[in-house]
Amino acid sequence: MQSWIPILVYLAIASSVGFLMLGASRVLRVRAKDVPPTRELTYESGEEPVGNAWIRFHPRYYVVALVFILFDVETAFLVPWALNVRALGRFAIVEMIVFVVILLLGWVYALRKGALKWQ
């Protein structure tokens, strides 16, 4: 807990940097006198935008996120192992090889089925 106090202070100051810049800009920046209606239109190469950008996106992203989470969980379990492999000896390595090999099976399956393919 004690060791997190400097982190807290640091994060507070780091967060304030962006707001400070925005605040300075608020003081110094100009304001348009008459705003043409097109000014706040979304930029789309000079054309009027066709449709909204907030549409249903491709499910491919979802699959990648799904696979990512599973591998992320695996990574999370690798961290305590990495910390202790020096202390625990050969047994830990064998365990982890089994763990990783089983997961690599899933990886091979995902690769073969094209789940990690982008198009």
Partner: protein, 395 residues
């Protein structure tokens, strides 16, 4: 809902978006008219399923300047500067095309020295044009804030060498107006041929350097198999130039219907198979090397004699044509530039109709066929590899 698409997508330029079964909402993205990679004011409306393009509709006409109509109102000697601005990346060759048509309809013979000089200028212009293409293509692939810009800067540095030579010859960097009916206006200044040799030495040496940059797995991955255009479709759409040669069709007007002195130089036409962006790149690079060879060959052997068979005066009534029509095709860096000239005897000093067949327009016609099925990144690469010049697409 198919989370993982497994079926092959069949590109169909006539796709009905109403009946298309998309995996996601179709996003209609307007690429252009102001976009960093449309190479001018061109608009391609992309209908995208996720990141895959299912339909691409090109919209042209943002630079329609009524050039053909303007030509009907101008005298023959005044048309040349207008056509400079038509394909603004290779103005020399555009001037030549128009003046060749005028000479043909008026039966004016061009002196040999002018023919040699025209060939030299055309080939130097081809190098400059391809250098510009290489730079912008690299920007398309590598971004304005990355390695692409580096290549772009290098290419422009070399292009400036050629523009300097043109400036020494004609006094202009860009729109030269150096060709006239019956020959050329400006004769070679002293020491010019040495300058050409020096510039070509530099360009050839440095070109080898950049090609090392392009001989990189990232470049090959980005271009191989991207935008494949098969020869049949290319011929059907009227595609010419490096695009056609990249698709494996051995066709080059400079060799097949020689004009100027191309029949003397034993032109080796670069042909690649594959029809993808990589092949187009290879063809253009080979053309640059071949052009440099031709220029070197001719520049030392310029025959003596007059540069023009007519007096280059800008008098409106100087050149008169009787009724008739001619077609002249020349090979620009983008393909066959055709000039179809009709003269009626009544209005002798200006053409009755002048139809320009720009190569870029026909090359751009492949967009709806080639883009679908590719991602947005590939679309940019393909658009860059087509090298359309909007000035001549819209005219």
């Amino acid at each position: 809902m198919a989370l993982i698409p497994t079926k092959a997508f069949v590109a169909d330029p006539y796709l009905d978006l109403e009946t298309y079964q998309a995996d996601a909402d179709l996003m209609t993205l307007s690429l252009g008219p102001q976009h960093p990679s449309t190479h001018g004011v061109f608009r391609v409306v992309l209908h995208m399923d996720g990141e895959m393009i299912v339909k691409a509709v090109p919209h042209a006409g943002y630079l329609h300047r009524g050039v053909e109509k303007l030509c009907e109102k101008l005298s023959y000697s005044n048309i040349t500067p207008i056509l400079d601005k038509n394909d603004y990346v290779s103005p020399m060759i555009n001037e030549q095309a128009a003046n060749m048509a005028f000479e043909k309809i008026m039966n004016i013979e061009v002196p040999l020295r002018a023919k040699y000089l025209r060939t030299v200028l055309a080939e130097m212009q081809r190098i400059a044009s391809h250098l510009l293409w290489l730079g912008t293509f690299a920007i398309d692939l590598g971004g304005a804030m990355g390695g692409g810009t580096t290549v772009f800067m290098y290419c422009f540095r070399e292009r400036e060498l050629i523009l300097d030579l043109f400036e020494a010859l004609t006094g202009c960097r860009f729109h030269y107006n150096t060709h006239c009916v019956g020959g050329n206006r400006h004769d070679v200044p002293p020491g010019w041929s040495q300058g050409v040799h020096q510039a070509l030495d530099l360009i050839e040496a440095r070109l080898a350097e950049y090609l090392g940059m392009f001989d990189h797995p990232i470049f090959v991955d980005r271009t191989r198999g991207v935008g494949t255009l098969d020869a049949e479709l290319a011929l059907e759409l009227g595609v010419t130039g490096p695009l056609l040669r990249a698709s494996g069709v051995d066709h080059d007007l400079r060799r097949d219907a020689p004009y100027h002195v191309y029949d003397l130089v034993d032109l080796k036409v670069a042909v690649a198979s594959g029809g993808d962006c990589l092949a187009r790149y290879q063809v253009r690079v080979e053309e640059m090397k071949e052009s440099a060879r031709i220029v070197r060959l001719l520049i030392d052997n310029l025959p003596a004699g007059p540069l023009s068979s007519t007096k280059p005066l800008n008098m409106v009534t100087q050149f008169k044509a009787t009724a008739g029509q001619v077609y002249v095709g020349v090979e620009t860096p983008r393909g066959e530039l055709g000039t179809w000239l009709i003269a009626d005897g009544k209005k002798a000093t200006s053409p009755y109709r002048m139809k320009i067949r720009p190569p870029s327009l026909h090359n751009a016609a492949v967009i709806p066929y080639v883009l679908p099925g590719h991602t947005l990144s590939d679309a940019i690469a393909i658009l860059g590899s087509l090298d359309p010049i909007m000035g001549e697409v819209d005219r």
